[in-house]
Amino acid sequence: MCGIVGLYLKNRDLEPSLGKLFAPMLLAMTDRGPDSAGFAIYGDEVGDNQIKVTLQHPDAAFDWNTVAAGLGSKLGSEPDWLQNANAAVFKLTCDEPTARAAFAALAPGAVIMSVGRSIEILKGVGLPEDIVERFGLAKMQGSHIIGHTRMATESAVSMAGSHPFSTGMDLCLVHNGSLSNHNWLRTRLKHQGVSFETDNDSEVAAGFLTWRLREGDSLEQALHAGLRELDGFYTFAVGTRNGFAVIRDPIACKPAVLAETDDYVAIASEYQALVTLPGIEDAKVWEPEPARVYLWERQDRLGVAA
């Protein structure tokens, strides 16, 4: 079944309370997805010449200090970094391939969740409540956030099968539904140089958007291409560094509700997940139409400065 939720702030004054507004939305979708949960939060953006890498290690006692020290000697100076439960976020002044090579050498057991200037993906197996607690979601700040609660169908209940999926800089996707042409598309995308970490169908959708954006599509063009090429049932919520999008397949079996006020745009699989948002009583609430791209983007720099 799965639940998806997303919150995109239009009013920057709300950015310090993004996590607090979002946590109850994710918890409300527990019935739809008790197997695993996760979220991609955007904010605390790094500068033009920097990247932010979020990793997780299966061992909660893993020593990230050693990794930071190792990065220091590899890159010249010890980077800004922080640990959050079994995850760590590093802000590095280097390019993505250099960072990936460094982490492969220094923390071979760790998995890179996301790379970008703004995105941080945190996810894991367990009830949404456990994930919210583990990573301290309620205290987080940022500009927009997309989350998922999973009831597994197409692949195993594992960290690797947890959403959100990211296959490119600052891009993430959460999915309610199932894709029927993911094997063929994965093969095709691999030929285009897109790499995949799992056999999950939803990761293919993220990979498809990454490929289209890399080929020069705007997010809107990439989503229209997705509507043409992705076969199956889906409601997607997509995040980019400065954007937030929702699409449903043309058959529209999978539910979605959008709400918009002057302060925010929110999506959820069910209206129940929106009831804790401020001003929801007077919000414009509607069901997104099938095969239509809903997109919000902003141009200014994102997130509350660190």
Partner: protein, 227 residues
């Protein structure tokens, strides 16, 4: 009037109290507050009572309704008034997909829009939508009437049996075996009555009628040699 506040009562308690009215009716008017999009509100009613839900309802609201009048003051999630037998269900906002699905009787009024598959497999229910309906509406409709004051999405009335469909606005496309039919006096009279019952002010003369071409649903003698 009796008020049930879903901040303090469970949906199960609400529905049980409403079901009890079928055995012994001691309250005709019910008000439900703080529904917060919860599912299966006011389902399985079987008594001439009225229930007003103050806010948005979740899935399967007022399902299997008999005799009761249920009004949602807000939007309703998917499967609104599913398998309704009699009575009236009204939603002042939008209804999600499959509103009025498989309904055998009664009247469903959607004052906003209804999304995909509105009236799928309807079996005698009347549905009046003030706004528009999504794709595949009245799919395999067997009996009853569907009135759409706005537009209809793709494949309207696909594989239709004997539902009569009236649409005022544009029809994106007709489904298999659904055709436009002549609007005769008896149809204008029927539509007038439906609009009046739904309390919707529209001129019945501005609607078009659609129905089954009756090419799909009976056995074709040409196929007899296959047996």
């Amino acid at each position: 009037m009796k008020t049930v506040d879903l901040n303090t009562s469970t949906v199960r308690e609400l529905n049980q109290a409403l079901h009890d009215q079928a055995k012994q009716c001691d309250e005709r008017e019910w008000l439900v507050t703080h529904p917060a999009g919860t599912h299966a509100l006011a389902c399985g009613l079987d008594q001439n009572i009225s229930v007003d839900i103050e806010g948005h309802a979740g899935y399967y609201c007022a399902g299997m309704n008999q005799k009761a009048t249920v009004t949602v003051h807000g939007n309703a999630g998917q499967g609104l008034a599913e398998n309704m037998m009699s009575g009236v269900v009204r939603v002042t906002g939008d209804a999600s997909q499959s509103a009025g699905a498989t309904g055998h009787g009664g009247l469903l009024v959607v004052e906003g829009n209804a999304s995909a598959r509105c009236g799928i497999s309807m079996k005698g229910i009347d549905i009046v939508v003030k706004g528009s309906v999504g794709h595949m509406s009245a799919f395999m409709g067997q009996a009853g009437r569907l009135v759409v004051c706005g537009d209809a999405g793709d494949a309207l009335g696909d594989s239709l049996y004997e539902v009569r469909i009236y649409v005022k606005g544009e029809v994106a496309s007709l489904g298999a075996d659904c055709i436009e039919k002549e609007m005769r006096e008896e149809h204008i009279a029927e539509l007038s009555e439906l609009l009046q019952k739904a309390a919707i002010d529209e001129d019945p003369k501005t609607f078009r009628r659609y129905g089954s071409a009756r090419q799909l649903y009976h056995f074709k003698v040409d196929n007899a040699s296959a047996y």
